[in-house]
Amino acid sequence: MHALIQRLWHGLVVVAIVATATFVLVRLAPGDPFAAALENARLTPAIRAQWRAAYGLDGSVGTQYLHWISSLARGDLGFSTSTNQPVSRAIAQALPNTMLLMGTSVVIAFVLGTMLGALQASRRGGVADRGIGFVTLIGTALPDFWLALVVLLAGASWWRLFPVGGVADLLLPIGAPWHTVLLDHLRHLVLPVCTLVTLLVAPVARLQRIALLDRLGAEWIRTATAKGVAPRAVFRRHAWRTALGPVVTLAGLALPALFGGAVFIEHVFAWPGMGQLAASAVAARDYHLVVGCVLVGTVMVVAGSMLADTLLERLDPRVAHDEIMAARSAA
């Protein structure tokens, strides 16, 4: 219990640090929330100053911080000037989209990566091992926006198999049957998920491979030579335990992406998620929205990692510790 309370306290500290740092960082950036129309000659600095005052965006960083804290205590995340709605509503719209995309991609990347890593470990040193390693590594080296654009053009323009970005068909009638809606969403998911999986699968596969070789290496050889048992049987018996460590560690590292989104991929695929929301908010100097996004993201990341740590310790403290150490040294 004491450990749980301590974790909660630590989590709060982290959230506070991130929120404050973001707040200060964004406010310090030169610019104005109402500067969107650069070519509009009539939008004078005087008008912008008046609007800033009306929305509580003037004054020193200190006073604004205090205002923000007090409204936060009331559960009010502020008004977003770039999307023209309360910040909470903007985030409520974006967060599920991000979690859908990132969640699907991460799960598929983990499953695929684990399988590939296991395949590599069992064929250690062979052609399959080298080949898979080579191909997955290329996936990590490619710039994400470039890959996203290539995948989009290939899948939607050169071969017209999938829709051109977006989360769903914009003209889908409201009362459409559930299976049409589901199929529509799935069709829109394919291309961005393919892009993300290509980028994410290599670290998972590498980690899995190393962890398996590390853990099973010594035992494997000994057992195989001593008992004459097929190495594959030993492999399978221990595989599940070994898979835990890297998965948990990487899950921890993947959490920020899960709630923070992928800025470039969302941009290219017109996916209205948290990454794009926060990035465009920074450009538009939409202070409340930036801080709101980061705050919500951090809270969820911290909650997620607390959950993961607690779960892991429940399962097997010693195994957990060992696996985490092994996994971290190989990451």
């Binding site: 080296a141 490619l142 710039p143 990454g275 990451a331």
Partner: protein, 291 residues
């Protein structure tokens, strides 16, 4: 896991093992070759990287005899830009990785050897840094500075990238700080600094090296993203990142512009990764070879 043992740095043995591993040798030669090309290349090539040859007639020329990798939207020779951009990208990424590794190791070691309170605060800071997507953090930082000289961009990259290393190092330190040899060193009165540098570093170096080799590729790709948004290494200086960024728009009409630096980037990442694996094996010979 067996009790960690004190490791001595046996440089001779390490180099020997490295040289014996064919993959590491190949990777190292590729990297060396690339380094030579980017250093010497600009002096040998006929065109300069910034030269706009003919902005109305020589735009997006296909790769051919006159221009081995074609020309870009400003009629600049792509080969010249890729070679010159290699200099900038490799230097940029290597410096950023060096700085972030130093910060990360320093932070991780200090946290591992510090008192309970300090350690907690330091590692919470690391957690805080890791919970924000790196691209977003960079965008926010770049919004604040009107025009970013190259060294400042390096610093910003490093400041957003040291968290993982710090976590890694701290984890290692935690695992071995209660080991016998460390306690013994402490009992003999060794200072924290000596313990850190002499006894802990060898254990830490392995995982850090492996993590850092992949980081070089990550940083070049991140800079490409920033250039695509218009912030990043500024014209007329070329970097693989900004060539890719400029060329992505024309991916269907002039694919050679973004593919050429992309291939270079992939090659560097593959070579560094192979080298990293080889280094790790060379540093920890007792265990089963992992490659």
């Amino acid at each position: 896991m067996s009790e960690p043992r004190a490791q001595r740095q046996d440089w001779g043995g390490i180099m020997q093992r490295l040289r014996a591993d064919p993959r590491s040798v190949l990777a190292a030669s590729v990297l060396l070759g690339l380094a030579i090309v980017v250093v010497v290349g600009p002096m040998l090539l006929p065109h300069a990287a910034y030269e706009q040859l003919d902005i109305t007639n020589l735009v997006h020329v296909r790769p051919g005899r006159e221009h081995l990798l074609g020309t870009d939207a400003y009629s600049r020779d792509v080969l010249a830009r890729v070679v010159s951009g290699g200099r900038v990208s490799l230097l940029f990424a290597t410096s950023a990785v060096l700085v972030q590794t130093v910060i990360g190791i320093g932070w991780g070691l200090s946290a591992g050897l510090a008192g309970r309170r300090t350690e907690t605060v330091m590692m919470r800071c690391v957690d805080a840094g890791m919970s924000v997507p790196r691209a977003l953090l960079l965008l926010a930082m770049l919004a604040g500075v009107p025009q970013v000289p190259l060294w400042l961009l390096v610093l910003m990259m490093a400041c957003t990238g040291w968290f993982v290393i710090a976590r890694l190092v701290h984890g290692e330190v935690r695992a071995i700080r209660s080991a016998e040899f460390v306690l013994a060193a402490r009992a003999l009165g060794a200072s924290r600094r000596r313990i850190a540098l002499r006894h802990l570093m060898p254990h830490v170096l392995g995982p850090v090296l492996v993590s850092s080799t992949l980081a070089v590729g990550q940083i070049i790709v991140l800079e490409a993203g920033l250039s695509w948004l218009g912030i990043g290494v500024q014209a007329p200086r070329a970097s693989w990142g900004n060539i890719i960024g400029d060329g992505t728009e024309f991916i269907s009409s002039a694919p050679w512009v973004s593919i050429a630096p992309g291939i270079c980037l992939v090659t560097v990442v593959l070579a560094l990764s192979a080298l990293g694996d080889g280094l790790r094996d060379a540093l920890a010979p007792g265990q089963l070879p992992r490659t």
